[in-house]
């Protein structure tokens, strides 16, 4: 389920909550209607942590971090709204300028000490996360935690309700913040209803496999789960992957999927997963950048046992993934609850997302951690960019029982060079 913030537990403490809104009032009665694809994501939350070094962030005060948020929210004011339901039960966002929750905290360690830990999932404690509900009308959709390290460095952790948009949207908003911080005049395109819904003429009529209906959760938007989900994270380089697993094509992400899928299949033995979900950015890149769910969600189904198959076979079948977005859009209704991440084993490709463009005083963050909250029992692997172009960070979330065995398998095949015990 992920670690929930608790006062006083661990080195991060001293939470002070406040709210940040926009500078201009939104017209009364404005609403934002989520599409079917948006609603499919409602039980998921994106968490991203940006860590800045002491030299960069030493002089940043709380006010200097809060102030650039105002012009950003002026441009995209609906993300500061609150959820309501229509009479039909379909959720929508009331644009009442309620704001985002801003959390200040302190960490007893320095940035260097914090970044020394190779398993970056420790960054989960730098994101203040609360799910939507039980009072939907009073639940912020975005939480921003500002953690001051003892050396003066800063971590900015965002918890972002996936119903609003995908990780590219989050990066877009945060980059706008960084540009507003630098004093630039920012502008974000207002997306009309039309630009958020897309037509896919290849709809075959079969039910989408990447989405699963779950038991009704009511107004508390938490993914129901049978097991405690655990996260671990490791770094890898493109060169390394290509040298260890040669002749599997050029797409590092697909190679990674293949390797990890195989490891997990070996661990799960009898019930090895034959269907996975692959989430990647849309190559037709809906420009200009805006806040919406635009990732391509496709499903891969194989007829053979993944544990036994060769890597080439697996990678080849990944290439035949089918885009299921329009099917998802159709199947989602007003009241049912669904999950996408973790409905099956899910692989998310964020390696091309411009997280490191969020420059403060000209410097990129020292580290960016990205994960999803509310992953179902199928588990998920999120691949995000590293500090340098060649590097990737893979964050794996699986049921707690499987995780040690999966780590062993990954060690055996050479994916993780240092096993963190």
């Amino acid at each position: 389920m992920g670690r929930v913030q608790e006062e006083g537990s661990g080195p991060v403490h001293g939470f002070r909550l406040s709210t940040v809104s926009s500078s201009r009032p939104t017209e009364t009665g404005t609403t934002h209607e989520p599409t079917g694809l948006d609603l499919a994501m409602k039980l998921h939350y994106i968490k991203v942590v940006y860590i800045y070094s002491a030299e960069t962030a030493r002089d940043l005060t709380v006010m200097s971090v809060k102030a650039p948020l105002f012009p950003v929210f002026d441009q995209i004011s609906w993300i500061t709204g609150r959820l309501r339901r229509h009479e039909s039960g379909r959720p929508y966002i009331k644009c009442n300028d309620c704001g985002t929750r801003f959390v200040e905290s302190h960490c007893d360690l320095t940035v260097d000490e914090w970044l020394r830990v190779p398993d970056r999932s420790v960054d989960e404690s730098l994101v203040y996360h609360q799910p939507v509900g039980p009072d939907m009308a009073f639940s912020p959709l975005i939480y921003l935690q500002m953690t001051r390290f003892s050396c003066g460095g800063l971590a900015l952790g965002l918890s972002w309700a996936h119903i609003m948009g995908d990780p590219l949207s989050l990066s877009h908003v945060f980059n706008l913040w960084a540009r507003a911080f630098a004093g630039e005049k920012i502008y974000s395109h207002k997306t009309s209803e039309l630009e958020r819904v897309f037509q896919n003429p290849n709809s075959t009529g079969a039910k989408p496999e990447s989405i699963k209906r779950v038991d009704p959760v009511g107004d508390l938007w938490v993914t129901p789960s049978n097991s405690k989900m655990t996260t671990f994270s490791f770094n890898l380089t493109v060169k390394d992957i290509k040298s260890k697993f040669p002749a599997n094509g050029d797409d590092v992400f697909e190679i990674l999927i293949g390797v990890i899928w195989k490891c997990i299949a070996k661990v799960r033995g009898g019930s090895d997963p034959v269907t996975i979900t692959v989430i990647r950015p849309d190559p037709n890149g809906l420009k200009p950048r805006a806040v919406r769910n635009s990732q391509v969600i496709s499903s891969v189904h194989v007829g053979f046992s993944v544990a036994e198959a060769s890597l080439e076979e697996i990678v080849k079948s990944i290439g035949e993934a089918s885009d299921e977005r329009s099917k998802i859009d159709e199947i989602v209704d007003d009241v049912s609850d669904f999950i996408v991440y973790g409905a099956n084993l899910t692989f998310v490709d964020l390696s091309e997302v411009d997280f490191y463009e969020a420059k403060v005083l000209g410097k990129s963050p020292e580290s960016v951690y990205c994960n999803v909250q509310g992953i179902g029992d199928g588990g998920a692997v999120v691949v995000s960019p590293g500090v340098v172009v060649d590097e990737r960070v893979a964050t794996v979330t699986l049921p707690g029982d499987d995780i040690e065995k999966v780590k062993c398998e990954m060690d055996k095949c050479g994916l993780i060079t240092v096993l963190v015990k």
């Binding site: 406040s18 809104s21 009032p25 704001g99």
Partner: protein
Amino acid sequence: MPDQAPMPEFSSSVKLKYVKLGYQYLVNHFLSFLLIPIMAIVAVELLRMGPEEILNVWNSLEFDLVQVLCSSFFVIFISTVYFMSKPRTIYLVDYSCYKPPVTCRVPFATFMEHSRLILKDKPKSVEFQMRILERSGLGEETCLPPAIHYIPPTPTMDAARSEAQMVIFTAMDDLFEKTGLKPKDVDILIVNCSLFSPTPSLSAMVINKYKLRSNIKSFNLSGMGCSAGLISVDLARDLLQVHPNSNAIIVSTEIITPNYYQGNERAMLLPNCLFRMGAAAILMSNRRSDRWRAKYKLSHLVRTHRGADDKSFFCVYEQEDREGHVGINLSKDLMAIAGEALKANITTIGPLVLPASEQLLFLLSLIGRKIFNPKLKPYIPDFKLAFEHFCIHAGGRAVIDELQKNLQLSGEHVEASRMTLHRFGNTSSSSLWYELSYIEAKGRMRRGDRVWQIAFGSGFKCNSAVWKCNRTIKTPKDGPWSDCIDRYPVFIPEVVKL
């Protein structure tokens, strides 16, 4: 016939209007009317007498040199005494209102959400606050200081001081820039802030920041409520009568940070919903050289204190609740008491400002009620004849509604008060200056216009100031209304659905 029935009503009301106008013109210019027949008689007499007779009358008057000298000396002496004993004209050179930064904005939804989180065990209190906010007449752009944005609020003394510095110094910097006054030239400084009174005082804080002179006459008024702004003006006026060739700076503000009520008694939660950040800095002067650039002249200032009556004294009372949280308890009789205080104030100011026609009518109606029929409705003088503009303290929607009803004012007369309440909330003693600024921003202030500022405050006090506009004021390019005046006036619904 149905069509004809409205016509007689309309024509009779038009006739009545002309009768009223005629009556007012007659009574107000009574002396002039008296003079006309006298002048006519004298002119007729002179014409009848002819030039030689006039010369004979002139020569028959024997003028002695001593007599001439004595009478002219007497005339000069009387006029000198008159000019010396006349009170100095007090000018309002200029003023400046604080405009809070957008980072302090508190939309309704945010206020309610914070309220729910802070008072999570008292849903009835939250419900109460929501109903107050819906009917308050406030808008979505009012501002609270940074310390109050926290859940729960963190009202430390440091935070209160920094709010005071932020609001007061910004307003004063703006005033110095507008008027070109140098800090070393300030003779009198009066700061009024009711609920925050640290040591050293806020006036000492201002003197320290701007390095004012060591022989400055500084005063710090605290605890005097929302009407303290006009009390400061009264004090400045008295001081400027005594000290020739001087100027005075008045700073009116209310510091919200330390006074945010943290308990859950309903009567004490009301101020949290209405009070917002604001400040005003005013430059007053008695120098002759300022009369060209001054915006207003102070005509009258009337203070009425109802503290002798127990009910009035206790109606706005700061006290601890059962849990020990300090807050301001507003009694349910507040509106009635305000009405009485206003009546008392009007009784004093009426004769000073009302034209003779209204005073006569009022006198006749008073005699009528006392002698003939006590059940006769009391005549409420038409103050619209005495003033062009009204600035009613934006204490809350109920106060403005009550005064509009009592004084029979139109929507346009109370527009400045309502719009100030909407845009800035209840900024306590500085609200009168935001309202005046609104009227100027709308370009309605002409030379010779008379303005009536009415303020209510704890105690219970009702203070009035009457200003006369000294020069037509061009729409200011800066000021608290500069970026939003085009959106005003807005329609404020009776209940805003949250």
